[in-house]
Symmetry: C2
Subunit: 341 residues, 2 copies
C-alpha cells in the first residue's frame, strides 16, 4: 500500500471556491490537522474560508510553510486552467505542491516544467497503489465500521475521524482508514478509492481493512453516496469490500438536493438505512446501522437541537453532531460498541 | 470514444481453461463473429473448446489468420506467466495479438520485445478512452435497455446482442453498446467499463448511450452483477449511467453459487428484480423489468422448457433462452417494446 511522507506545514490553496462542498479538503485539514497549516490563499472571487490567516505563497514560505496544498476541488477533479499561474507562483516562492486531484500535476506540462525549473516537487496523493487484488468477499476477523452518507461532502470523513479518536481514547485498538485525498493527507496513509479502477474497488477496500485482531476496529472513511448518480459505484464497492459490522449514517440537516445535481432530492434517512442494509447484508448478514451523525452546520443552536431530536424520535437511534456537540457524540460511540455485542 | 480496427480473422487462444466462465471471450467470438475466427489453440490441460478446429499459430497463419486473440481470462485479468511462451510463438508465426485483459500486453516486457523483434502489433482493447466525464444523471432522449444478471458470465452480452439484432430486424433503429472486451471485439467500438476509474463509471455509461432520436434504442451490455461482491461497483455505475427504460434480467438455470465465490448463493429472480428496480428508479422512475433471459445451457431440452415455464409462472414475465430457442425469444423483444408504450 502506498504511503506518503509529505512536506509540512502547508499553505492551503482555496482557489476561487464559492461552495464549501468543493473546499472540503482545506476545511478538513484545518479541522483535523490544524498544526500542519500556516494559512490559506484565496483567488479573487473565492468566498470559502478556513478562518486561517490569508497569506501569499511568499509570506507563507516566510512563516515556515514547506508546501502549498490544493484544498479545493473542481467537478471531475480537474486542475482549472486559471489556477495554474497561482500554482506556479507557489513553486517560485519555494513551496512544493500537494494535490489530491484526479488530474495529476505531474502530467500538466506547465507545472512539471515550473517544478523542474524551481527545483520543487509535485505530490499527487490520488494515485492508487499498484497491484490491488480483486475483491474476494471472504469474512475477515476484526471489527469494521463504515461511515456512509445520504450525499457527498457532508461529514463521512469527520465522523470516521471522530469515531476512531473516540475509540482510541477509550483504550480500544482502532485505525482510521482513509479513502480520500484529504483523509490520506491527514492520516498519512490510505487508498484513494475513487481513483481505483472499478473492477478493483471492492478489492481495494478489502486491502485497506485486512483481517485483524478480533478486538480491533477499522473505522473506514465512506465516499460518495449510494444515492448519488455520479458516484454510487464507488460507494457500493467500498460498502462490499469494507464488509462493515457497523454502519454510521451521515446526513446534513436541511440539505434537500444532491451536491451538484439540483434535480435529485436527498433521500430520507429511513430510505438510506434500508438501502445500505439491503446491500451490505450481502457480505455481512449481521450488519447494523448503529447511529446517525448529523451535520447541523447550517443551523442555529436551537434548530440544531431540534433536528437531532427529530432524528432520534423518528428512527429510535442515537444521533449527534460530532463537531458541534463532541460530548453528546459519546452516545454514537456507545451505540457502535453495543451493535457488535 | 476510442474505436478499434482490429486485424482479422483471429486464432482464438484458449489457454488452459477448464471452466467455460473463464473462456467467455472465445466462446462469444465463436457465437457472434464466427466468420472472423479460423480456429482455436489450447494449451495442455485446457478442456474448454469453442468447437472450432485446433490449429497451431503457424497452421492458423497458413489458413489466413492475421491475429491471435486471447480468448480466456484469469481472475483479475492478469497475463498468466505460462501463457507468455505461447503468445510469443504466435508473434513469431506472424500473428498480431489482441487482448482484453486488464494487464496490458504492451506493459509486459517479454511481449513488447518479441513484438518489436517480429514486427508485429499488440492490441490491448481494454484501455478506456481518455477524458471520460463525471456522470450527470440528466435524463436523455431515446430508449435505453440494459441487460443485468444474477451473476457474472451467464448471458448478458449474448442477450444484448440478440435484442439489438431483433430490434434491427424489425426495422427499429438500435445499437448494441459494448461494455466489455468481447463485446468491443465483436462490435468494433465501445468502452471497457470495468477498466474505467470508479469515479467515472457512470459518466462512461452516459457517454456510451448518449441522447438520441426518441425512437432509437441503445441496447447496453451489462457487466458483473449487483450481487457479486467483487464487481457490484461496476454494475451499479453502469445501471445509473445507462439510465435504462427497460431492464432484461439474465440468469443461468441451475447455477447456485456466484462465479468464483462458492460461499455466495445466487440470488432469487424476485430479489434481483427488486434490487435492480430500487436502484435504477433513482435515475429513471419509469424503469421496468420487462423479461427474463434464461441461459439453459446446462439442461436437457425437457428440463430447459420446464425451467422457462417455471420462471414465467413465478414472475408473470416473458422468459426465453435466446440461444436455445431464438424464435421464442420474440416474446422477450415484444415485452421490451411494450414496456415503453
Amino acid at each position: 500500500m502506498t504511503t506518503y511522507s509529505l512536506p509540512q506545514p502547508y499553505l492551503l490553496f482555496m482557489g476561487d471556491a464559492t461552495e464549501a462542498g468543493f473546499a472540503k479538503t482545506a476545511l478538513g485539514l484545518k479541522d483535523w490537522a490544524p498544526e500542519r497549516c500556516v494559512g490559506e490563499w484565496t483567488l479573487p472571487g473565492g468566498t470559502v474560508s478556513t478562518g486561517l490567516p490569508m497569506l501569499s505563497p511568499r509570506q507563507a514560505r516566510a512563516e515556515g510553510a514547506r508546501a502549498m496544498l490544493v484544498g479545493v476541488a473542481a467537478v471531475g477533479g480537474a486542475i482549472m486552467p486559471h489556477w495554474i499561474p497561482a500554482l506556479i507562483e507557489a513553486l517560485e516562492a519555494g513551496l512544493d505542491l500537494v494535490s489530491g486531484m484526479h488530474t495529476r500535476m505531474a502530467d500538466t506540462p506547465a507545472l512539471a516544467e515550473a517544478a523542474a525549473r524551481c527545483g520543487r516537487r509535485l505530490y499527487d496523493v490520488r494515485t492508487p497503489p499498484p497491484d490491488i487484488p480483486i475483491g474476494k468477499g471472504k469474512r475477515r476477523t476484526g471489527r469494521r465500521l463504515l461511515t456512509v452518507g445520504t450525499d457527498c461532502a457532508l461529514g463521512k470523513k469527520y465522523t470516521a475521524l471522530a469515531l476512531a479518536n473516540a475509540l482510541k481514547s477509550r483504550g480500544i485498538p482502532a485505525d482510521f482508514r482513509a479513502t480520500g485525498q484529504t483523509g490520506i493527507m491527514i492520516a498519512g496513509a490510505g487508498i484513494p478509492i475513487d481513483a481505483v479502477v472499478s473492477d478493483f474497488v471492492a478489492g481495494a477496500a478489502e486491502a485497506l481493512s485486512p483481517a485483524a485482531d478480533p478486538a480491533h476496529w477499522d473505522v473506514v472513511e465512506g465516499q460518495g453516496s449510494l444515492f448519488h448518480p455520479s458516484f454510487a459505484a464507488v460507494s457500493l464497492g467500498l460498502l462490499h469490500g469494507s464488509q462493515p459490522d457497523v454502519i454510521v449514517l451521515c446526513h446534513e440537516a436541511g440539505r434537500t438536493t444532491m451536491l451538484g445535481l439540483p434535480d435529485y432530492p436527498v433521500p430520507s434517512l429511513r430510505e438510506a438505512i434500508d438501502l445500505h442494509l439491503a446491500l451490505a447484508r450481502r457480505v455481512n448478514p449481521a450488519v447494523k446501522v448503529a447511529a446517525v451523525s448529523l451535520n447541523t452546520s447550517q443551523l442555529g443552536e436551537d434548530a440544531a437541537l431540534a433536528a437531532i431530536k427529530a432524528v432520534r424520535d423518528e428512527l429510535g437511534l442515537p444521533c449527534a453532531d460530532p463537531l458541534r456537540h463532541p460530548d453528546a457524540f459519546a452516545s454514537v460511540v456507545d451505540a457502535c460498541l453495543a451493535a457488535v455485542r
